[in-house]
């Protein structure tokens, strides 16, 4: 073996290795610290952006591992609009409706005064509403009063009552008011349904109602336009109760069973419907209570005792009075014929 050949091979290997390392070193130095500079990768470019999602869907929703799916909504800016409605818009609507109605009634009372029975009381009376009708009316009415007060408390209680009674007392009162509102809602809805069914017959609008309205309805001017059991004003009230009551009940049950039937937008809409209809309903009922109490002589007893003075009936529900008299006469004739002659 020639050592010179071996030496030459080792030398070649050494040179090769050194050369290779030199190249590596050169290359490494030539690439100036690329790891420290911002890379050309941009994950954000392919991802969604917050403002983009909000503009597209007006809410941002994703996937969560939590069973309560409401938590999958990351952002719902509609809450801001609802907040504005609840704090500002609703208070204006409610304030104007209710205070406006009170003002109108006060002015009306001061100018027109109580609507009297012109012919004076006759002393004779006739049954207008039976026991069942009155019971249903009073159940619905008392529930309404409590519901109205507890409901108005939610909207107006904080600015009006907290300065008077303080935070703790107001919270305690509101807690009970809320329970009353939840629990009395059911008997109220039942009352509205029964009222709808038992009085629908007499409350279908007809041409006579147009005439009644045109002739002032006994409110404007001194006329006494004829009417059946329910005049146009009362028919209006009936439909306010049935439709308004239906709307507050439906929206109310949605609010009482939150998220059973809708997402958060649905709840906000239900809240808007419930509160707007409710404040208008309250305004209408103030007028109803007025005319049924101090607004008209002889009106309250219709629902209080169930009977009314014949002269009152003649002046305000003449056609109904004739119907009742005819029915009575028929009844007398039949019983006279049926009774065996003694």
């Amino acid at each position: 073996m020639e050592w010179s050949w071996v030496m030459a091979s080792v030398g070649k290997l050494l040179r090769l290795t050194l050369g290779a390392w030199a190249v590596v070193l050169l290359v490494a130095l030539a690439l100036p610290a690329q790891a420290q500079q911002p890379s050309s990768v941009n994950p954000t470019a392919s991802s969604v952006k917050e403002q983009q999602l909000l503009q597209e869907l007006n809410r941002i929703q994703g996937r969560v591992t939590i069973p309560d799916q409401r938590s999958s909504v990351l952002e719902q800016p509609a809450g801001r609009d609802w907040r504005n409605f609840r704090d500002v818009t609703l208070r204006w609507i409610g304030g104007i409706a209710i205070l406006g109605m009170l003002a109108a009634l006060i002015i009306f009372y001061l100018t027109r005064g109580m609507v009297k029975i012109e012919g004076g009381r006759s002393g004779r009376s006739i049954v207008r509403f039976n026991g069942f009708e009155r019971t249903v009316h009073w159940m619905t009415a008392t529930c309404f009063i409590v519901l109205a007060l507890s409901g108005l408390n939610i909207t107006f209680g904080r600015p009006l009552l907290i300065p008077l009674i303080g935070l703790e007392a107001f919270s305690e009162w509101s807690q009970w008011a809320k329970y009353a509102h939840n629990y009395l809602s059911f008997p109220f809805s039942i009352g509205v349904i029964v009222i709808f069914l038992m009085w629908i017959g007499g409350n279908i609008p007809n041409k006579l109602d147009v005439d009644w309205i045109r002739r002032g309805g006994g409110l404007v001017g001194g006329d006494h336009p004829p009417a059946y059991r329910f005049n146009a004003g009362q028919k209006f009230m009936y439909w306010v109760v049935v439709l308004g009551g239906g709307a507050v009940a439906a929206s109310g049950y949605l609010l009482m069973f939150p998220f059973y039937a809708s997402g958060i937008e649905g709840m906000q809409i239900a809240s808007v419907v419930h509160s707007v209809v409710a404040v208008l309903f309250v305004a209408a009922m103030i007028a109803h209570i007025y005319i049924g109490t101090i607004g008209m002589e002889g009106a309250f007893e219709a629902m209080g005792s169930g009977t009314v003075d014949v002269n009152w009936a003649k002046e305000h529900h003449s056609l109904w009075l004739e119907q009742q008299k005819a029915r009575e006469a028929e009844g007398n004739a039949r019983s006279a014929a049926a009774a065996p002659a003694e």
């Binding site: 911002p38 890379s39 941009n42 994950p43 954000t44 470019a45 392919s46 991802s47 969604v48 952006k49 917050e50 403002q51 999602l53 941002i60 929703q61 994703g62 996937r63 969560v64 591992t65 939590i66 309560d68 409401r70 938590s71 999958s72 909504v73 990351l74 952002e75 719902q76 800016p77 809450g79 801001r80 609802w82 907040r83 609840r86 704090d87 408390n153 939610i154 909207t155 209680g157 904080r158 907290i162 935070l167 703790e168 107001f170 919270s171 509101s174 807690q175 809320k178 329970y179 509102h181 939840n182 609010l255 009482m256 069973f257 939150p258 998220f259 958060i264 709840m267 906000q268 809240s271």
Partner: protein
Amino acid sequence: MARMKFLCDADRCIECNACVTACKNEHEVPWGINRRRVVTINDGKPGERSISMACMHCTDAPCAAVCPVNCFYTTADAVVLHSKDLCIGCGYCFYACPFGAPQYPKVGNFGSRGKMDKCTFCAGGPEADGSKAEYEKYGANRLAEGKLPLCAEMCSTKSLLAGDGEIIAQIYKERVTKRGYGSGAWGWKTAYRESIDT
């Protein structure tokens, strides 16, 4: 005075839920109440983003504005807290909150949902700082001990930042500049009416 905020860096959140676990454990939050949650958007698709969300402690908090019994208050650090004693459980704060922070113990009728519970920025409630009553109702009060919220402390990737708004905005800005991308401070425009320019 510090103005406390949360910032979740959506580009770093890996949906590990350490923040959720930390909060649940620290405050013994009962099952069903989710003070903090991680929401994943476009799950499984390119550009998937996860964001950890609790209460943002908004400027002009809508929850406080709509509360019928005025049970909310804002501390000097701008942390939005509330009193469970005054709360009537009506649920209005949930309808107003853009982030779904309020939680209730009952799936229930308006008024019987029980006392509202939410992220307190680890700042407890109106009871005395660090008292047993405060812990039972609101959980731990770390802020009173000079500590920051545990969710951010436990975040495995330091995506969730909590602390003074200016400081965390600065941290986020530096991050975005250094790495070259950032999807922004999610929720800041809605909560604080500001965005971080990057």
